[in-house]
């Protein structure tokens, strides 16, 4: 499959401090890829290198077939969308005027503003001045701004960090819809439920090094104890290892009608991260 992003032996230092150590990965076209890690792990540095805001110390980086040395060209910029901690809005202007500016910069018809405002659930507030919006509403406008030109590749740094569960679900649906239309999404998040629900593959970045990379279900399986947690009708809780020797015991429990519930022992993505890095995934 064609790759939207290819990163090979990426290394970034700020003076004597190393932010990223020889990281390699690729993101397939049409994939939702999650980069997970605590603050200071190198996530934002990676996004900034991919968006041309930083230059790598060494290593090869290409995105959409463009080499990192050409990330500042208008052609590359017109194909990507960015929502990061460096994103912001003009506070004295309305939502509509903010999006109008970016429609014109990207040469997009103005009717796209209404489409995007429907997507982020802000159509009713289109003439509201940005300074009067809540933090969550501003985050949604910034997401609309990042997606208004239907980019091929979107970089989202903590896209739902300021949103309530209702709006978070709305944004997730919009991102999935965008992805179904063929857009590749590269996101960073601390929200493990979000990563599990949205991402096709996730990478764990810890202290600038890539620790794991796979699809969430595969990682959860890999770090599972492979045991069955059985609750009997008598109220007993049994942990039975998933090995051939236990087949008869399981058959007996089920056959005798003793089983109330059976669960496999798959850890959450957060628990996997803790096992891999020894650190909780907190901001």
């Amino acid at each position: 499959m064609e790759n939207s992003i290819e990163v090979s032996d990426l290394h970034k230092s700020f003076g004597k401090k190393t932010a990223i150590k020889d990281v390699s990965f690729h993101v397939e076209k049409g994939e939702i890829f999650g980069l997970l890690g605590p603050s200071g792990s190198g996530k934002t540095t990676t996004i900034k290198i991919l968006t041309g805001e930083l230059t790598q110390t060494h290593g090869k980086v290409t995105a959409l077939g463009t080499d990192a040395s050409r990330f500042s060209t208008a052609d590359y910029k017109s194909k990507i969308g960015i929502l990061s901690d460096n994103s912001s809005l003009y506070e004295r202007l309305s939502i509509y005027d903010n999006l109008k500016l970016f429609c014109k910069l990207y040469n997009v018809p103005l009717k796209q503003i209404d489409v995007m405002l429907q997507e982020v659930n802000l159509h009713e507030e289109r003439q509201t001045t940005v300074s009067k919006l809540s933090k969550g509403m501003k985050q949604r406008v910034m997401l609309a701004k990042a997606l208004i030109h239907k980019p091929e590749l979107v970089f989202l740094d903590e896209p739902t960090s300021a949103l309530d569960p209702g709006n978070m679900a709305h944004i997730h649906r919009s991102l999935q819809k965008l992805n179904e239309a063929g857009t590749t999404i590269f996101l960073t998040t601390h929200n493990m439920e979000e990563a599990t629900a949205l991402c096709d593959r996730v990478a764990f970045l810890h202290k600038g090094e890539l620790q794991e990379l796979d699809c969430p279900s595969a990682l959860r399986y890999k770090y599972s104890t492979h045991a069955f947690h059985v609750e009997t009708v008598q109220g007993d809780r049994l942990v039975i290892e998933n090995v051939p020797e236990n087949a008869n015991r399981m058959k007996e429990l089920i056959g005798n009608g003793h089983v109330k519930s059976i669960h496999t022992d798959h850890p959450t993505l957060g628990q996997v991260f803790l096992k891999v890095t020894g650190e909780e995934l907190v901001s």
Binding site: E53, T55, A74, K77, S78, S87
Partner: protein, 231 residues
């Protein structure tokens, strides 16, 4: 350079300017100054240095100050990064913003000069000098605005710019002799050179103002490059 993108930035900045109470009052400073000077002159003709102080006041209090504040605000609120991340080039961004400042500055200058008397400026070399001075003050505003990083800190730079570059001819009022080192240095400043252009019809003075503008352009370029990446 892309005309549509320049127009988009110009349109956004005009709307933003009209809603910014701090900026919208600035163009009135040279107009009020002109009215005061006219009253002091009691109907007589103002000395040429006074006329150039009006020019300096316009370019420092309007051109430089507005540009400085606009760039510092874009930098502080991180909206400049949004523009840089779009397909708009550095030239598109700076030209779009400069057009707003040019419109406001030249309107303010025209009204001010009509009040004090525009006739002394109606010759080719003086017009070229006025345009070069505008470019110098504009680029100085861009550079300082990006360098100062916040709107609050621009106030520390606005006054020195006004007194050093906007009111240079007033050095005579301090009683410093024309032969003193301070006067000699001040004599090379762009506003003094514009007076030389008017008085001596000098191409050399126009060249010196052009050199000041090139220096300001280099300063603005370095500050812009530093601001638009995190390296």
């Amino acid at each position: 350079m892309n005309v549509q993108r320049i127009h988009a930035i110009f349109e956004k900045d005009i709307k933003d300017f009209m809603k910014n109470m701090m900026l919208i009052t600035m163009p009135f400073i040279p107009i009020v100054l002109s009215l005061m000077y006219t009253r002091f002159s009691d109907g007589g003709v103002l000395p040429i240095s006074m006329l150039y102080i009006i020019v300096g006041a316009t370019y420092s209090a309007v051109t430089s100050s507005i540009m400085m504040t606009m760039m510092a605000e874009e930098n502080e609120k991180k909206t400049l990064r949004g523009l840089v991340q779009s397909p708009a080039s550095y030239v598109d961004i700076l030209v779009g913003k400069s057009l707003v400042v040019a419109l406001v500055s030249f309107t303010s200058l025209l009204i001010s000069l009509l009040i004090v008397g525009i006739d002394p400026f109606l010759n080719l070399k003086d017009v070229i000098a006025l345009l070069l001075l505008f470019i110098f003050f504009l680029l100085l505003g861009i550079g300082i605005g990006l360098f100062s990083k916040s709107v609050a800190s621009t106030s520390a730079y606005i006054m020195p710019v006004m007194f050093l570059f906007g009111f240079t001819p007033m050095i005579e009022a301090l009683g410093i002799g024309k032969e003193s080192a301070v006067s000699q240095v001040a004599n090379v400043f762009p506003l003094m050179q514009a007076i030389h252009v008017h008085e001596n019809n000098s191409w050399v003075s126009l060249g010196i103002i052009a050199l000041w503008s090139i220096g300001a352009a280099v300063f603005a370029y370095i500050c812009f490059k530093k601001t638009t990446t995190d390296d």
